[in-house]
């Protein structure tokens, strides 16, 4: 049943291209007024999911609702209330930015030309393109094109903004601009965006969904994914004979993983622990109890989304 609190809801939504399972049966919920980052490696099914929601692809099976409207039967009604920026936004190259926005606005609004133009001006100012408004877009840089993409996606003041890799083609300044624009829209709209830039997700999102090989493998509020209740990682550098210590650690029930990396003459361990309290109490004393090994550095790492991402992807790939 569609809920008033959910903007997007899917039920076993599936998309196969012949033998390729682009999206395996997917059930997801995106709450209202959230910024949800859709993460996943290339080919994970992020763009496929977005295109299904917009009616650009037809599902192989399953169903979905946006604003409680069916994505197949009521797609035009959905698109009235959605703004979309594709992975590589393409516009008619001979048109100027102003003409592109005017053209886009006419799909949503009727009214006098001056009213349309006012809205267009507002959007140009929002993305900082007022001074380039009358240049044909074929001469635009990647960043300018992306900003124009955000302006056209926002022209109808949508209730839901869907962005596919909005910052992937941009330099650091361009990325920052896009993230700032997204943050500024937070109050007005729900944002659902695909990306593989994990820092961006951690910076602006409230929720994260991780797709891998067409499957949703993790999702939830970002603080929950990064919460101390999950694995904590210690970084330890040792020298000397560390074999015995490593073997001992690997037998402990609260040690989830031990990754060893050579580090010059030393060894660096990244130790994921499933019981942070026990690790905090026992780990250091255990390490120093091996006389043939010296601990050079020892520290507990702050959890980053990148780590969560790598763990769940590695886990999912291992299982499959």
């Amino acid at each position: 049943m569609p809920s008033a609190d959910h903007v997007i809801q899917t039920h076993h939504l599936t998309k196969y291209f012949d033998e390729v399972k682009a999206l395996k049966p997917l059930d997801l919920v995106v709450p209202k007024h959230s910024i949800t980052g859709l993460l996943g490696p290339n080919g994970a099914g992020k763009s496929t999911l977005i295109k299904l929601l917009l009616g650009l692809f037809r599902p192989t099976d399953g169903s979905g609702e946006v604003f409680g409207l069916d994505i197949q039967r009521q797609s035009p009604e959905i698109r009235r209330r959605v703004g979309y920026l594709s992975q590589e936004p393409h516009f008619y190259p001979e048109m100027t930015a102003r003409e592109i926005l005017r053209f886009t606005a006419r799909f949503f609004y009727t009214g006098p030309k001056h009213a349309i133009d006012e809205r267009v001006e507002e959007m140009l100012a929002m993305v900082g393109l007022s001074d380039k408004a009358d240049r044909p877009v074929k001469g635009f840089s990647g960043g300018e094109r992306q900003r124009l993409g955000i302006a056209q996606a926002q022209i109808n003041e949508p209730d839901l903004l869907i962005l596919d890799e909005p910052a992937s083609a941009l330099d650091p300044m361009g990325r920052l601009d896009v993230l700032n624009i997204m943050s500024s829209l937070r109050e007005k709209t729900t944002i659902f965006y695909a990306t593989h830039i994990l820092d961006d997700v951690q910076r602006v999102s409230d929720r994260v969904m991780i797709l891998n090989q067409g499957e949703l493998i993790a999702h939830g509020p970002i603080e929950e994914l990064l919460s101390p209740g999950r694995d904590v990682v210690y970084t330890i550098t040792v020298e000397g004979d560390s074999d015995q210590a490593r073997k001992k650690l690997e037998t402990l029930p609260w040690v989830a993983h031990l990754f060893e990396e050579p580090n010059n003459a030393h060894k660096r361990w990244r130790l994921a622990v499933s019981d942070p309290e026990t690790a905090k109490r026992d780990l250091l004393s255990l390490l120093v109890s091996f006389p043939e090994m010296t601990v050079l550095s020892y520290g507990r790492q702050e959890r980053h989304l990148e780590e969560v991402f790598m763990q769940v992807i590695a886990g999912a790939n291992h299982e499959s």
Binding site: E77, H90, P158
Partner: protein
């Protein structure tokens, strides 16, 4: 969704959603660029240029050349035959060249994806292409060139052709060109390869007559004989016993069918 006080949300529903805006864009592509006068000039040179050459310049050259049998001039086809034969051959090729790429380019560039992420019906997308090209082609190729040809033939013969018959002949050309337009548009939707579209479009425009020679019954149910029929209609002497209405009717039916297939195909396409 909020709207400015003077802006109103477009309430259009169903297949017409976005049609007006898309049609304006298609018309701008024809009439606000150099396309309209370039096409008028190119196809004017091919048809009326040759008409002038054969009707006016050739007799002048023949008159000044010695040792040329003046009687041979009278065996040359008249202006009506020349214009309608040239138009019947050249205009279908023009339609194929002008329309090919109109949907495939949008699929390749991603502009189709962009447009269809807005409240736009896929039917409107295809219809806008059809109507926009139909208007452009009919004005620059058919109306413009036919008017010039009518004037040239009038000047050459010293008397106007019967206007009613001339309009009927031009009408046959229109039906034929709309057939090629809908054929190319259908292929543009169904195929992602320009080569396929061009091969089928040009193949039917150039090879149709050959097919009719091999299988004469095709002359009754395809547009391939229409370019031969149109001058006869203008001259008021349609072939006796030949049901002119049959290839016309069948061409109209095929054109509508192609358009329906294009719309249905586009509605089911993943973009």
């Amino acid at each position: 969704m909020k709207a400015d006080s003077s802006l109103k949300i477009d309430q259009t529903q169903g297949w017409r959603l976005g049609l007006q805006n898309l049609l304006i864009r298609e018309n701008n592509q024809w009439w606000k660029t150099s396309r309209w006068w370039v096409q008028t000039l190119v196809w004017g040179l091919i048809t009326n240029g040759l008409l002038v050459l054969l009707l006016v310049l050739l007799p002048l050259v023949v008159n000044v050349l010695p040792n040329v049998n003046q009687a041979q001039l009278s065996t040359l086809p008249g202006g009506v035959e020349i214009f309608f034969s040239l138009a019947g051959l050249a205009f279908p090729i023009g339609v194929v060249i002008l329309v090919q790429g109109s949907v495939i380019t949008e699929k390749e560039l991603g502009t189709a994806e962009w447009i269809l992420s807005k409240p736009v019906s896929r039917t409107a997308f295809v219809l806008a292409k059809f109507l926009g090209h139909a208007l452009g082609i009919l004005m620059t190729l058919v109306v413009c060139q036919s008017l010039v040809a009518y004037g040239l033939i009038w000047l050459n013969q010293g008397a106007p052709l019967p206007l009613g018959n001339f309009i009927k002949g031009v009408g046959v050309l229109v039906i034929m060109l709309l057939f090629y337009l809908s054929l190319v548009l259908m292929m543009e939707v169904l195929s992602d390869k320009r080569g396929t579209v061009l091969a089928i479009g040009l193949g039917s425009a150039l090879g149709g007559m050959l097919l009719v020679q091999l299988f004469p019954f095709l002359g009754y149910i395809t547009p391939f004989m229409l370019s031969n029929l149109s001058p006869l209609i203008v001259l008021g002497s349609p072939p006796a016993g030949f049901p002119v209405w049959l290839p016309l009717f069948s061409t109209v039916v095929m054109s509508i069918t192609f358009l329906i297939i294009a719309i249905r195909g586009f509605n089911q396409k993943d973009l």
